[in-house]
Amino acid sequence: MTDSSRLHASKPGAVTLVAPLLFTVVLFMVVLFAASCAKKAPPPPPPPPSTPIATAPPTTAGPVIASFTAEPSTIEPGQSSTLRWSISNATDMSIDHGIGAVQSQGMRQVFPRTSTSYALTVRGPGGMDSRSVTVEVSNAPPPPPTVRSPQISGNELLSQQGQDAYFDYDMSEIRSDGRDALTRDAALLKQILQQDPNFSVVVEGHCDERGSAEYNLALGDRRATAAKDFLVQLGVPADHLKTISYGKERPQCTDASENCWQKNRRAHLSAGQ
């Protein structure tokens, strides 16, 4: 037991720093990813009805624009739309806005900054034809959910600064180092609750692998409850704290060593729902 206390003084602190940092980075990437996904989300509208080639061709086969579409027809700034066309009986075919001469079948990506109408003009022995499509550029999308919103901020603060309380083997009494950790946690939780009065916290109880799973379920419950009671004594409102025992089902370290076992004998704070 003395060994474990000594080990605790340095090791677990280092680990609790690294893990939340990593988690934060992952969290941030998830935010970015989710946000960019959201931007691509607007469903493309159905393409405009194409003019059937078969409808009433001029007696002398004049040029016909069978189709000219932009897909998607609505984009956000920085995104692209694809123009597609199909033309027959034309010798001279061009699109404005600097695209210039084109072939009778083709496609072209365009990146308009603002809403733009593209005109396709074709000429041939039988006359001329023209058609235009408009690519709507929508207003700037709402900003992605930022890490400034209260819920995320609370999550982040907790995962960055929350500290685990460690326990002796088969014990659920809060050690003096655990008191220090939970005292800092209490201050942190009060700060988070000021920002986000709806924030809730799960106090997790964990055990090392050596006891039976059944006994450890009950022991982890005591550890979580002991940590919760301590936080409540320091003024954290009890109705924002919920306990859960993971027994030995969610170890953060899997080596068979006292160093690792100590890391797993802990109460850990995570954001609730």
Binding site: P145, I152, S212, D221, K242, I244
Partner: protein
């Protein structure tokens, strides 16, 4: 009574040794297994199309009888040249009983017969004789016809039925058709699985995708109770759903009850508590023993009915109380694990919470008690003599409290459960990088691995055939 001859003998033998060494001593050597009936099982032959199925038939018959652990199988190399195929063979100056009862085979019993293909079926004519008798008419213990489909499955079936009948002659319960329920993480999360007594036909039962563990099967084989961390529905904040971590938030552990017949979840109302865990069914299959923090304190032992109602608190302590298991014979005596004396130890009490006494010595951690079907013994896991976490399987005669150690330092051995025959024990053991399930005889011999994929633990052996 007969079916526990072996165990009674081995416990008695151990008890004598324990007393010789002084109270509380534990034998560390393998216990002498006593006298078992000796049986000769010569290969049967088949006529016509049945012959090509006899390889499967003969190996199934021999393995089932040997695997029972209740018979001494005489090596086939000691058999006489002339093998009877039907009782009349003994009357025609052919083989005689003495050929089998005398040396070299020295058999007490002889299983023989033959098969034939008839009407697209395999027909087994099987006999069991007590070859120590002088009169053939009194020698016959079994003479029976068995039918199966004319394929490997059919030949295996008739062999299993013949083996089951033979075992019944010696008071043994056949394990054929019984299922073992257990926890496996091979799908990525801990779920309940089941398999046959020999490890065949492994099937996933639950799909809760969180942590599902601690299975208990009702004695009538119709229901299973276990403990699951429910995945909480989406969070209060829409933003939070974008965080994988948030979406996976788990709720506090709860008891679930499922029908084994339909597989469906049945209604069970959990107590308002930070934890509820299933532990055992009462013999009537209509009540559950659980441990819960419904008292808002340390985990305590309760009884509920099958839907969670009629809550009765059994323990009233300021210490951890877990794993209540009821004596299947009396329905009145509980064994359980308590931290009231310091480290977890096994205690016994009446179902009303009175008459509490400690069964284990107080040394090490003693956990995972499991009653034998006859209600005389418990198997359990104990670290006595080892470092914390290094569990071995022990069996205790509850009346005398004499203990026998079944595993000896081969990995971490936990969660023993008794087979319905009262002779086999199933348990989990971490003997390499993973935890796997094994069976053995209650004297620690004939250890057989049943699982290989992922980690597998917490086996319970059910009479259920579902």
């Amino acid at each position: 009574m007969k079916r526990n001859i072996l165990l009674t003998i081995l416990i008695a033998g151990a008890s004598a040794a324990v007393y010789a060494q002084g109270q509380g001593g534990i034998r560390s050597d393998v216990v002498k297994t006593g006298e078992k009936p000796t049986i000769a099982v010569p290969d049967l032959r088949g006529s016509g199309d049945a012959q090509k199925l006899m390889g499967v038939f003969n190996s199934t018959l021999f393995n089932d009888l040997q695997g029972s652990g209740q018979l001494k199988m005489i090596p086939k190399t000691l058999y006489p040249v002339q093998v009877p195929q039907q009782p009349s063979d003994f009357r025609q100056g052919g083989p005689s009983f003495a050929d089998w009862s005398g040396p070299p085979p020295n058999a007490n019993y002889l299983a023989f017969g033959y098969t034939a293909a008839q009407n697209n079926q395999i027909v087994l004519y099987g006999w069991l004789f007590d070859v120590r008798q002088t009169n053939p008419s009194s020698a016959q213990l079994i003479g029976k016809i068995y039918l199966g489909s004319l394929d490997e499955a059919g030949s295996r079936k008739v062999a299993q039925e013949f083996a089951a009948d033979i075992l019944k002659q010696f008071g043994a319960t056949s394990l054929i058709g019984t299922r073992i329920y257990f926890v496996s993480d091979r799908s990525g999360q801990k779920e309940i699985w089941s398999m046959n007594y020999d490890g065949s036909d492994q099937k996933q039962f639950t799909n809760y995708r969180s942590i599902t563990t601690f299975p208990a099967v009702s004695p009538d084989g119709t229901k299973i109770a276990f403990t699951t961390y429910p995945i909480l529905a989406s969070s209060r904040n829409a933003n939070a759903a974008q965080f994988g971590k948030q979406a996976q938030n788990l709720g506090q552990p709860q008891i679930y009850v499922h029908s084994l017949e339909s597989g469906r979840k049945l209604v069970y109302y959990n107590q308002q508590a930070s934890m509820n865990a299933a532990s055992d069914f009462l013999p009537d299959s209509r009540h559950l023993l659980i441990y819960s923090t419904a008292n808002a304190g340390f985990s305590q032992i309760y009884e509920t009915d099958l839907d969670g109602g009629e809550l009765h608190r059994i323990t009233h302590s300021g210490s951890l109380e877990v794993e209540p298991k009821v004596n299947p014979k009396t329905g009145q005596d509980l064994v359980f694990v308590s931290g009231r004396g310091g480290t977890p130890q096994i205690y016994r009490m009446s179902i009303d919470g009175t008459d509490v006494s400690r069964l284990t010595t107080g040394e090490g951690d003693a956990v995972n008690p499991a009653w034998s079907p006859d209600g005389q013994h418990i198997a359990f896991s104990w670290t006595r003599g080892f470092e914390p976490g290094n569990f071995n399987i022990f069996v205790m005669d509850v009346a005398s409290r004499d203990v026998v150690q079944l595993t000896h330092g081969a990995g971490r051995n936990e969660n023993p459960g008794w087979a319905p025959d009262g002779v086999h024990v199933v348990f989990s053991s971490k003997r390499g990088r993973t935890t796997q399930i094994y069976t053995m005889l209650a004297d620690g011999s004939q250890v057989q691995p049943l699982t290989t994929q992922g980690n597998n633990e917490k086996p319970v052996w059910s009479k259920s055939t579902q």
